[in-house]
């Protein structure tokens, strides 16, 4: 973890020379496979974004607004006044190099502009030129440079080659958070109409219908009903999945990919089975039908705008508190921004598990609890019957998703859940997990098809560690608790370690859980459930020979 004071040996490495190398002279290359398409004008317009136009990064002329320099410099000035952290980050870096080899994009590509120090320098060099005396007088000698259209192109490429994963900030002795610099860079780009579609379109859909794919309430209900039917086919149990139920005790919010994408869907089946088994009084919301918030990847204003629906729905439905599903950046928004942005949620109660009576004191202000915390507590209190053998076909390792790991410190609960649901669990090397976890390479809205090669580069350090545990321990399943991970780790594995599949933790829980009255021979994917093949369940559905891990 970053320490409060830099150690002498770090200070001894401080380089007082202007940046060496010729990074400022390196040309900007718009290479297929390594950039993201521009925002669809219709969706940018829907969000009332400024300077909407039809353009693509491959165009020579990006049709910048006439006063684009003024907009950028004024925007930077405003943000320096508004965010003290940005001002500090602009001034304090001593180029000690601690961050240089910590970014997965740099480690996978070797591109120096993916070193966090240089990524920040892209913005810092412009800051120096226009906001510091030394930069105004000494120019390039002081690491300053004038704002040109080429620099804007460079910003567009490299601020969308950062997944805001914050691994570099763990190693910075000054605690500089490059993710926040990227966020500022993206805000400035958006102010002159340079947004990307993979962020703008989901944000517009989310603003309109409450979720990234633009699924409307009847579509949402159909999706959940469809999952209920499938779960009944698998377990023989018809579960209740209430939607917009006023007066329910708990509002459950999960990423929308859980109900339309694979392998997320099997985690959804796991949630439904779990909530039924413990008799939870809860409700889904057809409008807070998305945990994800692509506003985080666009601007603070957009993040606030999209996040507001969660508390609004909690209030409208009259729930006591909120339970959140296996989502990644939802938890960063929650832990670092929601409380001050749209909270405090004084109208909600202190979260208390209705099953175990456990008070979740850490959620006193936000009133929102992570499902892994909730489930770990159920297991710790002996409320679930788990037969680990049912997951004997998988040898699991756990990928700490960047945001639950580095933005909320959720390390133990997911592991506790896995260890109580599976017999075979092996950790990846220490410097690739927990707070040092390597990103999937596709977070923060850049998990696009057109950016695929960049994603394979950025995901290589993660895949390399998975390959190690696959080769050494026979790991064949990569568990994670983030919807972007579940979407982007499967192709990453298919390319680097094809023997390894991807799942969510509540899929493992759902497979291991012995449900009252169940009649099941398959796991949630419809594959044979180890120890529960046809012969193990008699006509009445009674289960023979199961060990209970309670």
């Amino acid at each position: 973890m970053a320490e409060s004071k830099p150690k002498p040996e770090i200070l001894a490495k401080v380089d007082y020379q202007p940046p060496g190398d010729d990074w400022m002279e390196l040309p900007v290359e718009i290479r297929p496979g390594t950039f993201n398409y521009a925002a669809n004008p219709a969706n940018a317009k829907y969000l009332d974004l400024p300077h909407v136009r039809k353009w693509q990064p491959t165009d020579d002329d990006w049709q910048l607004p006439e006063n684009w320099q003024e907009i950028i410099l004024e925007g930077l000035h405003d943000r320096l006044k508004k965010y003290r952290s940005l001002k500090v980050f602009m001034d304090i870096c001593v180029r000690c190099g601690a961050c240089a080899d910590k970014c997965h994009f740099f480690l996978g590509s070797g591109d120096p502009k993916n070193m966090p120090v240089l990524r920040a320098e892209l913005l810092r060099s412009v800051y120096r030129r226009d906001f510091t005396t030394a930069g105004k007088i000494l120019g390039k000698l002081a690491g300053a440079r004038p704002l040109t259209p080429e620099i804007i192109k460079e910003w567009f490429l490299y601020f969308y080659q950062c997944t805001e994963c914050r691994r570099c900030s763990v190693f910075c002795p000054y605690g500089i958070d490059t993710a926040e610099i990227t966020m500022m860079g993206r805000e400035l780009l958006n102010s002159i109409g340079l947004g990307i579609d993979w962020i703008t379109t989901p944000a517009a859909n989310c603003f309109r219908t409450g979720n990234h794919l633009g699924i409307q309430p009847h579509g949402f209900k159909d999706s959940i009903d469809f999952a209920v039917e499938e779960l009944e086919e698998i377990t023989g149990i018809k579960v209740d999945a209430p939607i917009n139920k006023k007066g329910a005790e708990i509002l459950f919010v999960s990423p929308s990919a859980d109900y339309f994408a694979s392998p997320h869907y099997y985690t959804l089946l796991g949630y439904l089975a779990l909530f039924h088994e413990i008799g939870l009084d809860y409700t889904w919301s057809a409008y807070a039908s998305e945990g994800g918030n692509f506003g985080l990847f666009h601007s603070a204003d957009m993040m606030k705008r999209l996040n507001a629906k969660i508390y609004a729905e909690a209030k409208r439905l009259g729930v006591k508190w909120i339970l959140g599903g296996e989502c990644g950046h939802m938890w960063r928004v929650l832990h670092q921004y929601m409380d001050t942005m749209n909270g405090p949620a004084d109208f909600l109660d202190q979260p208390v598990s209705p099953i175990t009576g456990t008070r979740f004191d850490h959620a006193s202000s936000t009133k929102m609890v992570h499902i892994c915390e909730f489930t770990a507590d159920l297991i710790a209190n002996g409320k679930l019957k788990l037969d680990k053998r049912r997951n004997d076909n998988v040898n699991v390792t756990f990928h700490d998703s960047c945001n639950p790991a580095r933005a909320m410190g959720l390390f133990d609960e997911p592991r506790y859940c896995i260890e109580h649901a599976c017999n075979h669990f092996n950790e990846m090397p220490e410097n690739t997990i927990k707070e040092q976890t390597f990103c999937c390479g596709s977070g923060s809205g850049i998990g696009t098809d057109e950016n695929f090669e960049m994603r394979m580069r950025g995901g290589f350090p993660r895949a390399n560690a998975v390959k190690y545990v696959h080769d050494k321990h026979g790991v064949n399943m990569l568990a994670c608790i983030c919807a972007i991970d579940k979407a982007t780790l499967p192709p990453l594995m298919e390319f680097w370690v094809p023997e390894v599949d991807v799942c969510g933790i509540h899929e493992l829980i759902g497979n291991a859980m012995i449900m009252k009255g169940e009649k099941r021979t398959t796991d949630l994917r419809g594959e044979p459930l180890p120890g529960m093949e046809e012969s193990d369940a008699d006509e009445s559905g009674e289960v023979k020979e199961v060990s209970e891990d309670v």
């Binding site: 219709a42 999706s223 090397p429």
Partner: protein
């Protein structure tokens, strides 16, 4: 006493591999080379480690006379990695040829290598064959990239596709359709 080329190569293994590693790393930007050379911690430098261990395996395989299948396994990860890095096809596989110059440089200080000429020619021919094999692997990786992209697009809406199919089947059999399949509004639209 006659010393075979293979014995010489085994003796010079570390020297030749160091040169080959250096030449391969030279295909990356200079600021990256310094970091890719470091061996501080295994998982902190995956590119450098992959190249280093891959080149060692390939060199040992060539000297031991391994068949093309085993050599292909040894070189696969380096090619896979370079197939998605900032290289053209020629740049991605070109490092294979650098082994020739690394071997020649190592032997050049040895005085008369006339007696080894035939073996050197044969060894270099194997390197040429390996380069062609590397190009095949490169192409396979590129084709895989496009296949995975197609699969990924489908997985992202897997359950919606499945539901849509169900609706088509319901319609075909005259059953009552209970669901209006949702499409984004015109003004919203899909991605470009």
């Amino acid at each position: 006493m006659v010393v075979s080329l293979n014995d010489t190569l085994r003796d010079r293994r570390s020297e030749i591999l160091a040169k080959w590693f250096e030449d391969t790393l030279a295909t990356y930007p200079s600021s990256a080379q310094r970091i890719f050379t470091s061996t501080a911690r295994e998982f902190a430098n995956p590119v450098g480690e992959t190249i280093k261990s891959g080149l060692e395996a390939v060199f040992d395989g060539l000297v031991a006379g391994d068949d093309s299948e085993r050599l292909g396994e040894a070189i696969d990860l380096i090619i896979r990695m370079r197939s998605v890095q900032n290289f053209t096809a020629a740049e991605a596989v070109g490092f294979v040829f650098s082994l020739k110059s690394a071997v020649r440089a190592s032997l050049s200080g040895e005085g008369n290598t006339n007696g080894l000429q035939t073996e050197i020619t044969q060894f270099e021919r194997r390197i040429d064959e390996l380069a062609l094999q590397a190009f095949d692997l490169y192409m396979a990786c590129r084709e895989q990239v496009y296949q995975i992209r197609a699969n990924e697009t489908q997985a992202r809406s897997a359950k919606l596709f499945q539901r849509a199919q169900q609706i088509i089947e319901q319609h075909a059999t005259g059953q009552k359709i209970t669901f209006d399949f949702n499409t984004p509004e015109d003004e919203g639209g899909d991605r470009q």
